[in-house]
Amino acid sequence: MKPAPFEYFAPQAIDEALKLLQKYGEEAKVLAGGQSLMPLLSLRLARPAVIIDINRLRDLAFIRSEPDGGLRIGALARQRAVERSGQVATQCPLIAAAMPLIGHFQIRNRGTIGGSLAHADPAAELPAVSLTLEAEFVVRSTRGERAIAAKDFFLGYMTTAIEPSELLTEIRIPATRPRVGWAIEEVARRRGDFAMVGVVTLVELNGNDTCQNSRIVVFGAGEKPERVARAERLLCGKRTDEHALAEVAKAVTEDLDPVSDVHASAEYRKEVGGVLTRRALQNAFKRAQKETA
C-alpha cells in the first residue's frame, strides 16, 4: 500500500500554485491536509502525475470575522484551528458543533476546511453544514477569482464546481440572523466515522415561535448533501409540535433516494434520515426559542 510515483511541487505563494494548476490541470491533485488524499494515494485509488502541496500557502490559513457578523475562513485553516476558534464559536456555533464530529483530533490537526469541502465526500459534515449555511466558495485561477454559492458547488459524488485549474481559497459564511436555531444530528458506526446518515437543520422563527424559514440538509444519503425542499416548505408556518415534526420527518424519508453500502441499507438511511430530521428540528427550535429578536 504505497503511492505510485508523482512529481511534487510545494509552491510558496498562491500565484505560483495557480500557475502550476494552469500548467498541469487534470494531471494534478492539490494536497492540503492530506487526510483523504493520502489514503487514496496509498491505496493507489488516486494516481495523479503531479501533486501540488499547498501547505506552504500560509496566507490561506486565516479565520476572520466580517463587520456584518459574517465569517471568512481560509481554505488552509486547519479543522482543529476552527474547532478551537472563539470567533467561530460565537459567530457560527453550528460550525463549531460540527467540528468534533470530523474524524479524530489527530486528523483535524492536519485536515483543512478547504480540503474537506473540495473533497466533497457525501457523508462528510462540512459540505452539509456549508450548504445549510448558504456559504460561498471563493476559487481562484490565473484568470482571476470567482465565488460559487454552496447550492452550485456540490455537483455529485466527490465532485465540485472547482475547475482543474482552480484553487479553493476561502469560504464565506453569511452572518447568522436573529431567532435562528440550528442542529446537527448523525449516526455513525463509531465516533469519528463518516455518517451513515446525518441531518443539519436551521430554523428561523418569527415573534410567535412559528417557523418562517428553514433549511433541512441530509448528508450521507446520496451522491452529495441535499436540501429537502418539500420538507422545508412543510415546516414553514409550523410550530414545534410533535405532529408537525413527524410530518416533516416523513417527507424527508419519502424524498430521500439513498444508496446501500456496507454500513447501511438505503431503507435504513431513508428511515433514520427522517428520525434525525425530527430530532434535529427539536433541538433547532429549542435553540431558536432561546434567541431573542
Partner: protein, 158 residues
C-alpha cells in the same frame, strides 16, 4: 518518475538531512531511512493511529503525510519519550496498568496521549476515551489504556 527532494528534519532533537523520493510517506521515511522503527504501520490509510507522531508539537498520522512535507519540521517519535533510562510518566503508567499486550499499537497511543495531556493535563475519563478513539488496539480492550493515561495525568486509579 517520482521527483526527489532534499529535506532536513529534526527528530527527537537530532537533525537529519536526506534525499527522499516525493512519494515516500513520513512513516516509511522514519522507519526505513532513519531506522526509527518504533513508529508502526497498522493500516497505512489513516484509520488505526499506530503511526501517530508529533509534528511541530501536534499529533499527526505519519502514514498520511509525505516525508517531503516534513522538511524543516520538528518531530517527536516514541523513541524520544524517555530521558535515557528514565521512562516518561506515560510509559511508566502503561506498564503499571498493563495497558499493552502485543505492543504494536502502543507507540501510537503513547504519542496521542502525550499530545492530548499537553493540551489537557487534567482530563476526565470521558475526555480520555474520546482522545484515544482514533487509535485502534486489538488486545487490551482500551480500559487499561484509559487508566494509564489518567495515572500519568496524576489521577489516582484503582
Amino acid at each position: 518518475m517520482s521527483s526527489k527532494h532534499t529535506i532536513t528534519v529534526t527528530v527527537n532533537g537530532k537533525s537529519y538531512e536526506r534525499l527522499v523520493e516525493a512519494r515516500v510517506t513520513l512513516a516509511d521515511f522514519l522507519r526505513n531511512e532513519l531506522d526509527l522503527t518504533g513508529t508502526h504501520l497498522g493500516c497505512e490509510h489513516g484509520v488505526c493511529g499506530a503511526c501517530t507522531i508529533l509534528l511541530n508539537g501536534e499529533a499527526v498520522r505519519s502514514c498520511s503525510l509525505l516525508a517531503v512535507q516534513a522538511d524543516g519540521a520538528e518531530l517527536l517519535t516514541v523513541e524520544g519519550l524517555a530521558r535515557g533510562a528514565e521512562l516518561h510518566p506515560l510509559q511508566q503508567a502503561f506498564q503499571d496498568q498493563h495497558a499493552l499486550q502485543c505492543g504494536f499499537c502502543t507507540p501510537g497511543f503513547l504519542m496521542t496521549a502525550y499530545a492530548f495531556l499537553k493540551e489537557r493535563p487534567k482530563p476526565t475519563e470521558t475526555e480520555v476515551r474520546e482522545a484515544i478513539s482514533g487509535n485502534l488496539c486489538r488486545c487490551t480492550g482500551y480500559l487499561p489504556i484509559v487508566k494509564a493515561i489518567l495515572q500519568a495525568a496524576g489521577k489516582t486509579t484503582t
